[in-house]
Symmetry: C2
Subunit: 592 residues, 2 copies
C-alpha cells in the first residue's frame, strides 16, 4: 500500500465519521519518545523516520509538523507521500493547533487516537479548538484497519537489577514516593511512563529499541502497589522478589479497568505530560486529579553514589571502545571501502566487547560531510555515503550498559579540511568548553546554561537549531527529564547529581555539520558570601580531535582545558589499551 | 503617632471586622511603582522607605516582605516599629500568600484595600488562600482613619508634548491601539497605568516624584476615547487639542461609574498586572474580560526614530553634566567637607543647567564605601556619610529631560583602594561589557542576556541579588516593561528599538558596593545563514573609571572596548566643555 493509498484510506474513514481533521502524534499509550514498532504510526502513514513530529490530515491537506533538526530529512522522506512539511518554530510545540483553529470552520470536528495523546496535549488542543468552536472526537484509530501485519505489543523478557547496580532498593524508592504522595495530599498515583516504572521497580527490558524499558503501568497507594505487566516477561524468581516487596502483579491491559475502579473520593496524582488521555478518561470523573510531574522523574534525575561510580566506570569502557574504533577506522579506510553504515556496524562490535554492554542507546548518527549537517541523520541503504580522505565526519553514538548509559558526539577530520570548517569546529569546541566548565549559583535554570554555551557562537553570528543538552538516564533512556539545557523558559533547577549532555553544533546544509558532545554531572563548587555555587564534572572519556582546532580562536583557558581533558582521557583509558591502540591514543591526546 | 500605635490602630479595626490578617501592598489605584504621597502606605505604617515590599499584619505578627536589595535598609528602618523583616527569595513574588496559607486557620479572613491590589495579584491571593479555605474581605482601608493630614490626590499641572518630541501623534497611537483591539476581538480597553496613558496621549505631568506622569484613566473603544483626569491640570489650549482628536475629558473619579456603565455584552481588554481589583470589580460581571498586556506597553517599549535621536542627544547633555560634577567633586573634596547628600544636591544643579532638564528620574543613590553595598540606598540626615579620600564611591542617578530619560551608575576610586576592590570593580566592568556587546539571534529573551552578563562574575563565584537590566521610558518612568534582563523566565523578546539598562554589580555588606550601568538600544546586527542577529548600541555617554581597573582580569577585547568607549565619550562631550572640565575629561578618558 502506498502512502497515497493510506492517506485515501484515512480520509475515507474521516468522511464516514464526519471528521474534518485527523491528528497523528508520535507517541504510544505511555507517551514515550522512542516507540515500539506497533506505534510507529507516522512512519507507517508518511514514511518519515524522525523521532519527533505530528501528522495532520484534512480532506484537502496533509502535513507533517516537525522541527529544524528534521527539515532536510523530512523534505526528502515526504517526497511523493502526499504530506507536506510544515516547519515548527519551536521544537515540540503543538503549533498545528493554531493551524487547525485558523483553517477549519466553526462546528467542524477533529479526531485522534486518545491512547497516543497526553493529557496535557489534549488540554492544549481542547483550549485552542474550543475557542474556535471546533469539536473533538476521541478514540479514533484510523490506521489499524489499513495496517496489515501491524506488529503486536512487544513481549521481550524483563529482569530486575541488583542493588549493587541501582544503589537503592525498590522498597526504599516506593517509600520516597509514598512520602511525596503524602506531601501532595494524593491518595493514589498512576505511573504510565516506562522509564519511571523502570526506575521505581529496578526493572529493565527490551520492548523499545535502544530504551531498556518494559511495557507496564503502575498504581501506587499507601495500601497497595500494583504493577500491570505481561507476567510472562518475568522470571519466576523476579516475580517472587516483586511480591516479597508487597507488589501485586496484574495483566498489562487491566490498568484501564483498575483506573476506572479507583475510589471516586480519592485524590489521584498523574503526570499530565506522561499519561495518555484515554487512561485519564478511565479515572472516576468525581475524583480529584492532581496534575504534576511524577515524583520518580525528579528522583531518578539525581543519580546516587552507586550510580555515579558505575557511570564513571562505564565512561572509561565506552572510551576504550571508541578508541579501538577510531584507530581501526584510520587503518580500514586505507585498506577497503568504508561507508557510514559499515562503520556504524563496526562501532557496535567494539562496544559489544565491553563488559556490561547491552545495546545502543540510540541509532548511531554517522554523518560524513553534508550528512553531518542533519543533526538526527540515520544512514539508509540509499543515502549511505562512502567515507573519503576529505572533510569532516560526525559520529554521534551511545551505549546502554548495565552500569550506565552513554551518549557522545565527536567530529574528526578525514583530511583536507577548509578554514571555514576549522573555524566552525573551533567555535563549537569553545562553546562546549564554556558550557561544561560553567560555574553557577544554586537555583540556576537550564536556559541560563544554554545561553552561556551559545555565546561563543552568537559572538560569531552562528547558532544551532536544537537544544544544548538533555538529561540522560542510568541504564535507561538517553533522553530523560526533568532538566533540559535549551532556550525554553522551563523552571527546572540544575541540581547536584544530575547527568546532562552539553552538545552545541554548527550545521551548514549540503556542506557539513559539527557537534561536540560530552555528558556532565552537576557537582558542588565552593560556597562564598554570594551563595552556594555548582559546576560540572565531565563524565565522558574520549579524546577530542585537535587537528581541526584553530588555536587563534581560543583563549588560553580553552586550550588548557582541551589539553588537560585529553591528558586525563589518556590517563584513564591507557590501562585498558595495548599496542597500536595505545600508541594511537597517545598520539591523539598530545597537547597542542 | 508611633508605628506601634498605628499597628494597634490597625489591629483594633481588624478585630472589629473579624479580619485575621491585613495586607498592605506598595501600590496606588494605577498599580504604580513610584507612588504619590497619598499612597505611601508602607512608609506611613512602618517607616520603611524602599520602593518594593508588602506588609502583612495579624494580631500576633507584623512583617515586611521585601527583597535582597533592601535587607540591610529594612532591618535598620523597621527597628522598633513592631514589624519584622521577612526576606523574599524571589524579587516581586507574593511569597506572603504562602505564609498566610500556612499560618492562618481554615475559615479565617484576610483583608486588603482593593484599590491597591492588581487584578493579577488578587487572583494569586485568591488561588492560594481559597485552597486553604481562607476568606477574602475586600475594600478595607484601615490606614485612612489613623492618617491625620493624609495628603490628597496630587494636582500638578499636566501638558501635551509636541510631535517633534514624541515622533508620533496621538491619533496615530490611538489608531494602532484600535487595530490591536480588533485583532484581539476586544470592544473596549480600559487603561489604568500612568505611563501608558502618558505615552498614548503624549501627556506629561508631575503627580509622582521622578515619574513625569499625571493621574488619569482612559477608556478606549471604536466609538469614543475618554480620558478621566482632573481637567484643572490642563491648559485651555491642551484641552482643545485633546478634544480636536475626538477625546472626551471626564472627571478623574468618574472612571468607576464609567467602568460600571460599559455594555455587559462587550469584550473588555484590561492588563491584569496594571489594573486595580476595585476597578475590575466595577466592570459588568457578564462582560467578557480579556486579560493581556496593554497594547501601549508593547508599543512604547519600541522607541521611534525621533525618540532615539532625541535620546542620543540627551545622553550627551547628561554626560556633560556628569563631567562637570565629577570634576567639581575632585576639587571640592579638597576645599571643604562633602557628604553623600551635599554631592547629590550639587549633581542636581549641574543637570538643571542642561537644556530640557525637568527633574531627577529617581532619587540619587550616592553611596560612599559601605553605603554602596545597599543597591537602593538613599542617604538620610542620620546616615549621611562624609566622602573621604579613601575607598569607592558609587553614584547611581538619572534625569528626566524633555528629550529622554537617563539612568547611569558609576563607581569611582576616592583613593587607597584595595586589591579586592579592584578585582570586584574589574569583574563588574567585564560583566557590563559582555552584556552590552552581546550579539544574539532575533527572539532572544531577557533571561539569556542576563546569563551572559553574569557569567564573568559566576566564573569568580560572585553574583548580585538584583536583575541585570530594566526597560527605560522616553521622558517617562525610569522602569518600564515589558522587557527585563533578569533570571526570571519571562517570555518577552528583546526587540529592535528597546532601551534597557545593563547594570551588574558586586556588593560586600559593610565594606563597599560596585555597580556599573549603561543604557543600551537594541539595533540590527547582520543576518547570516543562521538567522537574523541583533546587538546593542550603548546610549549612555560618560567616562568609565579606569583607575580601579586590574587589566590582568580583562581580555584584550574588553580593554579595547573600554578605551574606545571612553574615546567616544570624549569625542561626543568635548564640544560642550571648556577649560578645566575639558582637561579633566581628556585625562579621565585616556586609554589604558
Amino acid at each position: 500500500m502506498t502512502y497515497q493509498e493510506k492517506l485515501s484510506g484515512i480520509r475515507r474513514q474521516m468522511l464516514n465519521d464526519k471528521v474534518d481533521a485527523y491528528i497523528i502524534p508520535s507517541a504510544d499509550p505511555h507517551i514515550s519518545e522512542y516507540l515500539p514498532d506497533r506505534y510507529k504510526c507516522i512512519l507507517f502513514a508518511s514514511g518519515f523516520t524522525g523521532s519527533a513530529g505530528t501528522l495532520v490530515i484534512t480532506q484537502d491537506f496533509a502535513g507533517l509538523w516537525t522541527d529544524a533538526r528534521y527539515f532536510v530529512q523530512a523534505t526528502e522522506q515526504l517526497h511523493g507521500s502526499g504530506f507536506e512539511l510544515v516547519k515548527l518554530i519551536a521544537q515540540g510545540s503543538p503549533e498545528y493547533t493554531g493551524w487547525l483553529a485558523g483553517n477549519l470552520n466553526s462546528g467542524d470536528s477533529v479526531a485522534f487516537d486518545s491512547n497516543l495523546i497526553s493529557l496535557q496535549l489534549s488540554q492544549t488542543i481542547h483550549n485552542e479548538l474550543s475557542a474556535a468552536d471546533i469539536n473533538i472526537v476521541e478514540n479514533k484509530d484510523y490506521l489499524d484497519s489499513l495496517w496489515e501485519d501491524r506488529p503486536g505489543l512487544p513481549a521481550s523478557p524483563a529482569f530486575l537489577l541488583d542493588d549493587a547496580l541501582t544503589g537503592e532498593t525498590v522498597p526504599s524508592k516506593l517509600e520516597r514516593i509514598q512520602r511525596e504522595l503524602k506531601r501532595k495530599r494524593a491518595d493514589v498515583h498512576l505511573i504510565s511512563s516506562l522509564d519511571d516504572i523502570a526506575w521505581v521497580f529496578n526493572i529493565r527490558g527490551a520492548d523499545v529499541k535502544c530504551n531498556p524499558v518494559t511495557l507496564a503501568f503502575a498504581l501506587v497507594s499507601p495500601k497497595v502497589t500494583e504493577l500491570f505487566i505481561d507476567i510472562a516477561k518475568l522470571s519466576v524468581n523476579d516475580r517472587a522478589r516483586l511480591k516479597s516487596w508487597g507488589i501485586e502483579l496484574r495483566p498489562y491491559q487491566d490498568v484501564y479497568t483498575a483506573a476506572a475502579a479507583v475510589s471516586s473520593s480519592s485524590a489521584i496524582l498523574i503526570d499530565p505530560k506522561r499519561t495518555c488521555f484515554a487512561l485519564y478518561r478511565q479515572l472516576p470523573a468525581e475524583a480529584k486529579i492532581i496534575q504534576d510531574t511524577n515524583p520518580s522523574t525528579n528522583f531518578k534525575a539525581i543519580k546516587n553514589e552507586t550510580e555515579i561510580a558505575n557511570i564513571r566506570d562505564t565512561m572509561v569502557r565506552d572510551g576504550v571502545a571508541l578508541t579501538r574504533f577510531f584507530r581501526w577506522l584510520e587503518e580500514a579506510m586505507v585498506k577497503e571501502e568504508q561507508t557510514e553504515i559499515s562503520v556504524a556496524e563496526k562501532l557496535y562490535t567494539f562496544r559489544a566487547e565491553q563488559d556490561g554492554f547491552v545495546g545502543e542507546s540510540f541509532d548511531t548518527i554517522a554523518g560524513y560531510a553534508e550528512h553531518g549537517a542533519l543533526p538526527h541523520y540515520k544512514a539508509t541503504i540509499e543515502s549511505d555515503s562512502r567515507l573519503m580522505n576529505d572533510g569532516l565526519f560526525l559520529l554521534d553514538s551511545g551505549g546502554q550498559y548495565l552500569r550506565g548509559t552513554t551518549d557522545i558526539t565527536r567530529v574528526v577530520s578525514l583530511g583536507n579540511i577548509t578554514q571555514e570548517e576549522k573555524t566552525d569546529y573551533t567555535l563549537v569546541l569553545k562553546a562546549m568548553i564554556e558550557g561544561s566548565t560553567a560555574h553557577f549559583p544554586k537555583g540556576t535554570k537550564g536556559y541560563q546554561i544554554d545561553a552561556i554555551t551559545r555565546k561563543p557562537l552568537w559572538d560569531h553570528l552562528r547558532n544551532y537549531g536544537h537544544g544544548t543538552g538533555h538529561g540522560v538516564g542510568y541504564f535507561l533512556n538517553v533522553h530523560e527529564g526533568p532538566q533540559v539545557f535549551n532556550a525554553s523558559n522551563l523552571l527546572i533547577d540544575v541540581e547536584l547529581g544530575m547527568v546532562t549532555s552539553v552538545e552545541p553544533g554548527i550545521y551548514r546544509p549540503s556542506k557539513y555539520g559539527i557537534r561536540i558532545e560530552n555528558l556532565v554531572l552537576t557537582v558542588p563548587d565552593q560556597s562564598t558570601e554570594f551563595g552556594e555555587f555548582y559546576t560540572f564534572e565531565t563524565l565522558t572519556q574520549f579524546v577530542i580531535e585537535t587537528e581541526a582546532v584553530d588555536k587563534q580562536l581560543l583563549d588560553t583557558k580553552h586550550i588548557q582545558w582541551l589539553n588537560s581533558y585529553n591528558a586525563e582521557v589518556f590517563r584513564k583509558l591507557s590501562p585498558f589499551l595495548q599496542g597500536e591502540d595505545l600508541k594511537w591514543l597517545e598520539r591523539k591526546t598530545k597537547a597542542i
